[in-house]
Symmetry: C2
């Protein structure tokens, strides 16, 4: 050890801390030998190639089978996979030999198994965790997808897993390393989030084959990823390693019961004695691999999908491999040892700091999208696959945040009396849905159905919580108001309560989950009557508009609904609070809508925007920002790529759930002979143009009074496949913006990354797929710009998007194929929907036109509003008139005494299992968007309770570790040494949270209820 | 318990013994709770259907993979099967829960695993054996085939396994039940042998589908098999059960890691909760199955091929199945319990004796051949499959007996100095070779090669033992004689030593393993010279004959040999002893051989027989017994069946390794245009007719001076398949015997069974395959007879045989097919041989013609001589002339002071591990063949040692249990109660063994060396 002897006292600091202050990295007992303590004791040998064998299993939280089926090992005709057996069989194997190690990753499975164990087994497991043999890595509820997940959901799912580990195992259960070995490409934001969670490193398995070849050549498979170069800086630096052999064992050395490699046959009396051969493979592989890495330490991933169901086959043969190889180590200088990713990192860190030292590259500010595993196989199809499910996941995130908030601000006394469900099931379902074969859309159909069902089951409980909590908050004196409920099919104008012809009046309660007042939100409800009067919470009349239910909506909803009209009116609601509106049928008809005149250009506008549609084609042809007078020349339409059936010369790769591969670089337009415009609505609140491009592609373009954006509601499907052609549908904006081959997409809803056509930041691309190879994930927004103007399109779900030509911007909204792409799903992505004809998907794009300088704040604010939209609950008024109702019940409520600044987002407000409140505040503006430091004082912030300031503790992003204790491994890089300490946000003296641009502050605290 | 309360004091005797004299059934310690003690403690419930769950694995000792590959789990691309993992994983599972049980069967695997375990694991296993959780069933080295095995080899392989168990685990390791769940048909002799081994019962899985349907209907799946109705009687009675569900678990309840059935998902929070469904299957299956059985006890075989590699998947789910089913047992009256075949039998025995009582059927004196699992799928092809290997196995048995004898009679002082190899490896290789996918010929080609290699490796060691032991016994004073060695390719006239042109003289040492002098054995050796002088051990001249090496032999041996001639001379050798002959080249030519005259009938004869061949066809047309003047009109020729390719209307079943299915009921003759005779040899010692039927079918018919039988040496192959037709070749004798649709075949070389065309003894047959459905295994002999004469044909290996028409008798000698028959082998049985063209097989048929009365003793004596033929060793004389050699070395030796009576066969003489000598004597004549009781006194019987009479202990046939202690379960049958005690043979007072017809007496004893 060098502590005290080195001239630079800062060197090896963490290691010295380990020696003198073991509690710094451990809240466990003194006897614990987990974590780096364990690592330090491993039998590494200086001067040898130290091969860290990492016994691991990769357990998809649903893919070919449902998560239940995977857990139990049911439905094994699809895949022999039963996670219960993995844990059942690994534990005794670890106990048999103290040198053996194992890592476990997916908490959705581990948690379930843990629940089934008795006290004895739990003690046995705790012992293995304490002594470091069983180590949790990553520790999220799932191993989330990185392309189609929203950061809010990523943080939530990590929190569910990490907090379970923390409460169950304490410090020894804290994962030190992030582990995304299977996701199909890697977002920079994911790395940033991991860094903020305090991880010491991050490993993944999949990166572009060209990128990998380069990295192997230049020995930079491992580097320091600068994941938030412009905002968080050093705080988001993360040691990141691309795995040498995907995540499987070296060729020939797979010892799982399902593997075909030869076991080690070491009975010398046998003809099949093969020790020399087996050891030879191990040695040669090691000597080859070490050439591509910077130190004498290399790592082998000893496991794969659902392996270790019969753990003894693995450990017995690994024991032998280690013994026999090491017994001859004097000759070949290869030393095999059981290890873990964290121990590998520990020793790598130690070895790289030893003279002559290794400076890891620090130049990666790019990400790892799109992923291609071979020419013509770009995994950019799943950015869009299963758009309906992707949309549902985003909506569920919205509801879950509402639900969790209400668990905190709900009245505890009330819920003591009436036992409420909790958000637990929904949190877990959302955790499962973030899995890289869930929201990604790359699961089998029956599994997708199962995910949706799980979300629904969780959502129902959260809707009950929401409804009952709000109901309680409505109470003024004693009586409870009528129950209010959600209408879940408003997107197709179905709501039994409002469309019933006997419903003459009803209440509309709008809960706003933002930490500031929400105004100008439009409620659109299916109704039967021609005219309605709406009173706001104070009894004032509200302007309304009644429009006909569109033809396409009527077709889609079929017999599920019968409303003739949609009632539209604007609402507002206070921060973390609700407002109740009163709706009753009236006599005055206020319907609007007109047939467009053929040949004439059509114009709609509001205070902010004017949209012009071509008289001949009916396509949007210009957008004018009426404030700035910026004019965008545009041609917006729908196009389709013909999915490759693998039948062309270049390659037999097909488009499928993962892979996007069009047969041609040109998308074909979807356009009728005459104008696409079928109807124009010229209402007081909303002007809209209804477009029909084909029987299965339509769009409504809307301008709402007071809104700065245009809303384009697209409806696509059933995609016809009778012509035996797979189709991938895009909405494309061809504009006059001089975008210079560059466009911008967000990473998981947070920071924006620049994308340049046919170019990668870190290596010279040989482009094989000019379309698919330029597709990137769009989680929330995509934009192009030139010096004067910027077109920003926000989405309501994750989609693939690109800009293939200057001024052009496209988003893939739906896809349907006839072939499987050969990566295991075994099904073409052919969603047939409930009625078997093909799925109809409806979604929205939100268009902003402004200067580049002003656009940032605009799209950040809009983005926040979209994914944290109000919850709308409908209640029968119960014979009350509005006046009577207002007298009896509260129609306005806010849980906040002060609103948060406009750039501060209340990312999390939830109850933890230990009855503390977990809160996250985020500065949601990048510096480049005008972001500036923000302060929030917690004293007197909330209405129902006071934060007990002396209990406030600042945590890492995963909410499982105090930020004060973070001492991440530091690395030498070309740009200096990386930072060990966490970025801090809490000042207890002033009771103030301070936030740099893009910083998230995670706190937990006890509260003092005011009632 | 009923002990003491029943009116019949003999009832429940064994059970009472259990209570008062626990040592009677156990030599283990008093704490042991194994065997029936364990059974008595099982939670059976009167009034319930008691379902005995038997966790088991069926581990083929080679089939698709070699036995090494199966043990280690190598070559898993063929089959995921590794026996080491089964035992590794079962042991901890048993330890986890005392109610869990497991049975293990194949000692070839268990022994190997045991050798790899450390003391700790051995103690753990011993504990599980002692407490009855781990029970050995059957306990042979393998689960032997029953159709193509010889009883000598069966007894040997059982002994290797059972003695290992006895010496390792004592009484608790003694299997109580025999278990042939997979062999493809069941011989009566096998049941008889099992009964003599002291087994309480026998279970098997495969029986004719029609037979099974009947037995299910009439509830006689279980009965008392009278396996030696005419000779051993009650001593060979055996409780025998055909398993309900082959040997696999009930449909839907397979919980192996490789199974696709649903696990028990008992987390009520899950959507997939399926306890009711799983329990429903268990209950319904139980209630259905019990309808077909005689008591409330039924058995489920919970396992299958190579299952339990991940034992936890089985036990976890069985635990749940038992718990959940039994928790509702009050409703459905089904009680599941972990059990074993022996416990099932125990409770069945107990329950059947309880009033009103069950009398098991006792009428089965038939066997279970041939086996058909469906119409048109008779598994009678494997009776012949791989004829070369079948022949090699028989020859190896011969060598092994010689080798074991010499280990006993060899001089211990000598072998102390020169450490000899032992017969251990050969015993084990022979044990493996008896497996039901080994000698059966139903393994993959690479596995067949492996079996042969193993036998060869063992044989080499035994040839060294034989050579060195004999060499030592040749020593008179001090000098060792020249080493004598085996020539292993005499069947194709290849012997480097004798055919070398520089070898002018050599010794021929003949060791006779029979317990009486062998005379008139002919040695036939390839030589270069024209004439040879041979001196017998006393120096007398011996008549010799030199004949040309036949054309066909020259073709077959190719470049492997160069001898022009074969030297023939008769030898004799004393009981368990050797004689050395001295051969030297001389000048007198003694060649014989002549070209037959076309058109003339050809006659050859000796003192006993005259054979007449048709002048036109060249076929054998009559046989005359010159002593009795019996004349057999006969037409003997070769024919072929065209193997079905599964392309006909009746069925798509194909001929393959298992199944014999000819395309037509008529076999096609293999006959040239002119006479088949190519040469006639008219020698002084041997007259022979050489026949060529086609380029690939030839035969030599020989009459040796002094022999009562004619020898027909057939050479068949390479079977041509260029016409894409599979072919199965038979030798057929069409005679004038009025055989009345009846023929007789032996069972495993012991008792004869009558076979009636298109008829089964125990059920009315619906014949679907008139040829294959009438084929039976012929292990050593087949015969047809009428009142005056009997044609008996003995074989040198196991073959399929039949008599499809009156007076006809056929034996299938070789087969080659183009298709797999679909039972797993996955290869057509297409033996290509060393040179790739197809395998040539040469073998012999031995023809006896005599009266039915006289034939029995004749064919028994001949049969014994054939499978216990002398070993012939060749040595360079080392410059000695015969006189000099006789002066220096012993040329005669016998280890016996008295010969055994002609009907008493010395079946076994071998050293046991505990240094005692194991000996078996057999009365080899059936009563019907003139068998009568025989006595043998052991005092002064052997030359090199004296039996210590006071140490003689009589054992069961498997040599693992004292006969005195045998108390088999007794059963009520329609014919009375079965016998518990073993048939005894040893009288210590007179030191005499007495043997009833067909009785085998197994003894072990210490010996006092005379030197």
């Amino acid at each position: 050890m060098f502590c005290g002897f080195t001239t630079d006292p800062k060197m090896y600091r963490w290691e010295c801390l380990l020696l003198v202050l073991p509690f710094v990295i451990g809240r466990g007992s003194a006897q614990d030998t987990c974590g780096y303590k364990k690592c330090a004791a491993l039998p590494v040998k200086p001067g040898y190639v130290n091969v860290h064998l990492v016994p691991h299993t990769h357990d998809d939280v649903g893919w070919l089978k449902t998560v239940d089926q995977y857990y139990y090992g049911a439905n094994n005709s699809i895949q022999t996979a039963g996670v219960q057996y993995i844990l059942d069989s690994v534990i005794p194997q670890l106990e048999m030999k103290p040198s053996r190690t194992f890592i476990y990753v997916e908490m959705a499975f581990f948690y379930r198994w843990w629940q089934e164990q008795d006290g004895d087994m739990r003690d046995r497991v705790r012992k293995l965790v304490s002594n470091g043999q069983l180590e949790f890595i990553n520790g999220g509820w799932c191993m989330n997808d990185e392309a189609s997940t929203h950061y809010n959901a990523i943080i939530d799912q990590m929190t569910v897993g990490l907090q379970f580990l923390n409460s169950t195992f304490g410090e020894c259960g804290r994962p030190l390393v992030a582990w995304h070995i299977d996701p199909f490409g890697h977002s920079r934001e994911q790395a940033s989030l991991f860094a903020q969670m305090g991880f010491d490193g991050f490993f993944f398995g999949r990166l572009d084959y060209q990128d990998k070849a380069n990295r192997l050549k230049y020995r930079n498979m491992e580097e320091i990823w600068r994941a938030s170069p412009d905002d968080l800086g050093a705080a988001a630096d993360l040691f990141t390693g691309a795995l040498y052999n995907h995540y499987v064992p070296p060729g020939g050395l797979c010892f799982d019961i399902g593997c075909k490699d030869q076991p080690i046959e070491d009975d010398m009396a046998l003809h099949d004695y093969n020790v020399a051969n087996r050891v030879g493979i191990a040695v040669n592989t090691s000597l080859d691999q070490v050439q591509h890495f910077q130190t004498d330490h290399i790592m082998w991933t000893m496991g794969s999908d659902f392996q270790y169901q019969a753990a003894h086959t693995w450990f017995k043969n690994m024991d032998k491999l280690i013994t026999h190889t090491n017994s001859m180590a004097d000759k070949h200088k290869v030393n095999l040892l059981y290890s873990s990713p964290s121990c590998y990192i520990y020793h790598k860190n130690k070895a790289s700091a030893t003279p002559p030292g290794v400076k890891f590259a620090h130049n990666n500010t790019a990400d790892f999208f799109p992923y291609a595993d071979q020419p013509h196989a770009f995994w950019s199809g799943y950015f869009t696959s299963r758009p309906a499910f992707k949309g549902y996941v985003r909506r569920c995130n919205n509801l879950l945040q509402v639900c969790k908030q209400l668990e905190v601000i709900g009245a505890p006394k009330f819920s003591d009396k009436v036992p409420l469900p909790t958000s637990k099931r929904f949190r877990e379902a959302m955790g499962v849905a973030q899995h890289h074969d869930a929201v990604s859309g790359t699961e089998k159909q029956h599994v997708a159905n199962d995910y949706a069902m799980r979300l629904h089951a969780g959502a129902v409980e959260c809707q009950v919580i929401t409804s009952m909590t709000l109901q309680q908050r409505m109470v003024k004196a004693g009586a409870l108001p009528p129950v209010a409920e959600f209408c879940n099919y408003l997107n197709i104008s179905v709501c039994p309560l409002t469309e019933d012809e006997f419903t003459k009046s009803f209440t509309v309660t709008v809960y706003n989950p933002l930490a500031r007042r929400r105004t100008g939100y439009y409620v659109r409800l299916p109704v039967t009557g021609d005219a309605y009067a709406v009173n706001d919470p104070e009894g004032n009349n509200v302007v309304t508009q009644v429009t006909k239910v569109s033809q396409r909506t009527q077709e889609i909803r079929g017999k599920r609904g019968k409303a003739k009209h949609e009632l539209l009116f604007p609402v507002s609601a206070p921060a973390l609070g609700f407002s109740t509106y009163f709706v009753s049928q009236s006599q005055n008809s206020s319907r609007s809508g007109k047939q467009p005149k053929a040949g004439d250009d059509q114009e709609i506008h509001n205070e902010h925007l004017s949209l012009l549609f071509d008289g001949k084609t009916g396509l949007l042809k210009s957008v004018v920002n009426l404030e700035t007078n910026l004019t965008l020349k545009v041609n917006q339409g729908f196009y389709w790529y013909n999915s490759s059936a693998g039948n062309n010369k270049a390659s037999n790769k097909k488009s499928g759930a993962y892979v996007f591969r069009p047969n041609s670089t040109e998308a074909m337009p979807i356009l009728p002979q005459q104008s696409v415009i079928t109807s124009v609505v010229d209402g007081q609140l909303c002007q809209e143009v209804q477009q029909s491009f084909s029987p299965w592609v339509s769009q409504v373009v809307r301008l709402y009074s007071g809104q700065r954006h245009a809303e384009l509601e697209w409806t696509v499907g059933p995609i016809p496949i009778k012509d035996d052609l797979g189709k991938e549908i895009i909405s494309r904006f061809d504009t006059d913006i001089m975008s210079d081959s560059t466009f911008y997409t967000d990473a998981n809803g947070r920071e924006l990354l620049a994308r340049v056509v046919d170019r990668r930041l870190t290596w010279k691309l040989n482009q094989t797929e000019p379309v698919a190879g330029n597709y990137y994930p769009v989680n929330s927004r995509i934009l192009i710009k030139d010096k004067s103007k910027q077109l920003t399109v926000l989405t309501d779900r994750s989609q693939g998007g690109s800009s293939l030509r200057n001024g052009s911007l496209e988003l893939m909204v739906h896809r349907r194929m006839l072939y499987d792409d050969g990566y295991g799903v075994g099904e073409p992505l052919n969603e047939t929907g409930v009625f078997g004809e093909g799925l109809v998907v409806r979604g929205k794009h939100y268009l902003l036109l402004d200067t580049p300088e002003s656009s940032g704040q605009l799209h950040r604010a809009l983005g926040e509003q979209l994914y944290m939209a109000p919850s709308v609950l409908l209640g029968l008024a119960g014979g009350n008139d509005p006046k009577q109702y207002r007298k009896e019940f509260r129609t306005n409520y806010t849980a906040m005494k002060r609103e948060l600044p406009s750039s501060v987002h209340l990312l999390t407000l939830e109850m933890s299992e230990d009855e503390t409140v977990l809160m996250r505040l985020e500065n949601q503006l990048q510096k480049a968007e005008g972001g500036a430091p923000q302060n929030v004082t917690l004293t007197g912030l909330f209405e129902p309770f006071e934060v007990e300031i002396n209990t406030v503790e600042e945590l890492t992003l995963g909410a499982n570790y105090p930020s004060t204790m973070v001492q991440r491994l530091a690395w030498n890089t070309e740009g200096g040494r990386t930072k060990s300490e966490a970025l801090r946000c809490w000042d207890s003296g002033s009771a103030t949270v301070s936030l740099q641009p893009m910083q998230i502050c995670t706190l937990h605290f006890k509260v003092q209820q005011r009632d």
